[in-house]
Symmetry: C2
Subunit: 406 residues, 2 copies
């Protein structure tokens, strides 16, 4: 008898028929003798509808009350799923964030899970109940409703799985697993049977949308096996788990692409200690998240710094840079959102050399100029012109022969 946490996204519970479909899947698993906790998102479109109402009232609606508003989306889903399972003759009980309680900090709209009680849920499971948990929501130390931010239901599911020491956390979604790259970009994309937490983490950071990044982090910390699979068929899906020797045979596992960044160049900086610190401290205070940073070799004590930020932060970033331009002695500030970041990810890079060379060669063959490069132990990212993004993905997918099973 296993303890399984299943998470169903908004599309999977988009209407009563789909909720009935989810209920049947859950019931089938329960009938096999497993203990089941189901975590659900709001019905597809509901979170946007509610947020739309709030934004009609105020450009920046009060974030505490927006969380109260948004939390109703998941509340409706858990109730409807519980009603469906009860009508099928199963014992089901819904839990809202505060009822568990799933405790978070007070960062409304993007709260972080601090801890979670497990007694009530375990008692219910032991009594033969199917437990249904509202994803995306928690309660802060002062008893206010919080939400975890977009994709937060994935995080809720992994947190529940970690707290209950579940045997697996199955994330049911509208795709049937994690692919070597976006199948919309190349039909050669291949579904991965398994992938390591760290690789998945890099992929999530680099634009792959299949799993929420904090869910992967939590899974890695607590060693929760996460399975990504489709709620519309019975395909096997992709297992996200700790690396094993098997996986290390693959040098590159996937190619990702993100077209939501912009680059900013600060020119004519004096190359002396403290200048970069001043710049990036100021940006951090304004809550601008800086991604890749490249500094040119200085000539005659003068250098350039180029860095990327999210496209949405570009205007704000340029404003800030202009304001501190004189203080840091820069001669110019330039910004552009005409960029994309293509990355290759693979745990096997650790022990293989020549991967970077192969990547740059593949891009060069297509006449794609590399503007910035950043690397970690298990990924290499290149910033290129946005119009080449899809071409670059296809070229890299071919170059590393990702269509072939390892």
């Amino acid at each position: 008898m296993a303890l399984i946490v299943q998470k169903y996204g908004g599309t999977s519970v988009g209407d009563l028929e789909r909720i009935a479909n989810v209920a049947r899947r859950v019931a089938e698993r329960y009938d096999q003798g497993d203990k089941i906790v189901v975590v659900v998102s709001a019905m597809a479109g509901e979170t946007d509808r509610l947020l739309g109402l709030a934004r009609k009232i105020a450009r920046i609606p009060n974030e505490r009350e927006v969380d109260v508003l948004l939390a109703t989306g998941e509340q409706v889903s858990v109730a409807l799923l519980a009603i469906t399972l009860e009508s099928m003759g199963y014992k089901a009980r819904s839990y809202l964030g505060w009822q568990i309680p799933l405790r978070t900090n007070s960062a409304f709209g993007a709260a972080r899970i601090e801890d979670m009680a497990k007694t009530a849920l375990m008692d219910d499971l032991d009594a033969g109940n199917i437990v249904i948990v509202a994803g995306f929501q928690g309660v802060d130390p002062s008893g206010r409703v919080t939400t975890l931010g977009r994709g937060g239901s994935d995080t809720s599911a992994v947190a529940v799985a970690a707290a209950l020491k579940a045997d697996a956390c199955e994330i049911f979604t509208d795709v049937d697993g994690v692919y070597t790259t976006d199948p919309n970009i190349t039909s050669k994309a291949r579904k991965l049977h398994r992938i390591g937490y760290e690789e998945m983490l890099e992929m999530a950071s680099l634009g792959a949308k299949v799993l929420h990044i904090r869910a992967v982090e939590l899974g890695m910390i607590h060693q929760v096996p996460i399975v990504v699979r489709s709620s519309f068929d019975n395909e096997e899906g992709t297992l996200v788990c700790a690396e094993d020797s098997d996986m290390e045979r693959t040098v590159v596992s996937a190619v990702t692409c993100s077209a939501k960044d912009a680059k900013v160049t600060i020119a004519g900086l004096q190359d002396k200690p403290g200048v970069a610190a001043r710049l990036f401290t100021t940006l951090a205070e304004a809550k601008v998240v800086v991604d890749t940073i490249v500094q040119n070799v200085s000539e005659k004590g003068i250098t350039d710094i180029t860095f990327t930020v999210s496209e949405a932060d570009l205007a704000k970033t340029l404003d800030i840079c202009d304001k501190i331009r004189d203080a840091i002695g820069a001669t110019g500030v330039f910004g552009s959102d005409d960029i994309a970041k293509v990355s290759i990810v693979g745990a096997g890079m650790r022990s293989h050399s020549g991967v970077a060379g192969r990547m740059f060669t593949a891009l060069a063959k297509e006449g794609i100029n590399i503007e910035m490069i950043s690397t970690s132990e298990i990924k290499i990212s290149c910033v290129i012109q946005r119009k080449y993004a899809e071409l670059a993905v296809r070229a890299l997918h071919d170059a590393f022969e990702l269509h072939k099973s390892p």
Copy 2:
């Protein structure tokens, strides 16, 4: 500086524009220096929409989970009103039932309030916040969401007013007060400036829909002055309060009419102890609420019993009576929903004789036959054929000259 509880019904918060209208009214009162607690219902139609979803899934959906579902309606309203007030520059904070907490028993769908904490709300009011409370919902001893039943937001508002010892509880609705009778039946209906709790209680029991009966009960117990007024204008409304010598001058205050009852006659019963007990105990066990009961004088040890139940319970009641028919020695069971109950209500009846005679004469003049009569200290009800209901109301309104101010 007064402490005022204001309750706005579903129509008053039916869309964002109306919510803005409510926010302006609340803000205006706050600006006058009063402390304000606002209790809101779900947006008009929302409770029915949610209930419709649940009933599409199951004929009798799980009542615990239905309460989880329905409670989202008020949660959306409080959040939207708080966002609106915050966007206008006021400090507002929403409270859900469990956050107060407003504790109820576990009668899901029709929970009764047991007690309510006031510290959090008072602290917020003292800090200059406008407090917004989700009506209709509470939390049971095991931490589950409960709802108070239709009209429950009125009850929430009066409970909050009682707990906080508010100076008044204003119920804003789509009518501008309590009338001598339904203005849709006669244009001579007159708005009452004030009415006693007990009269209001009788009126609510007898078909007047303006205030929820449990709200009036709570108000009477805790002596909370309740004002019924329109959220669409600034008219004075009706004050529901303890009787005073002023009010006693009015013998009859109002005429009510209910066309939602049915009558059942059990014929040929043996007139001996225990028969009626057996009948009504069986009905009570089946949760059938019996209203008026009339037993004929027996002839030769044989009698008839006629009683009324709600129209919705008629089929169930006939079933039960048929089953115990032989056991109680009845010769026949007959049912009809072709009845209406017209009533006159007035605290002044206590000290006036001749009221019943005047009522029966007025009905007789119109050729209306009285099938059953029941009385209390402050009301007289007559069951008549349903087709005469409106005629009877007009006749009684005229007979007691209710169009004239006392």
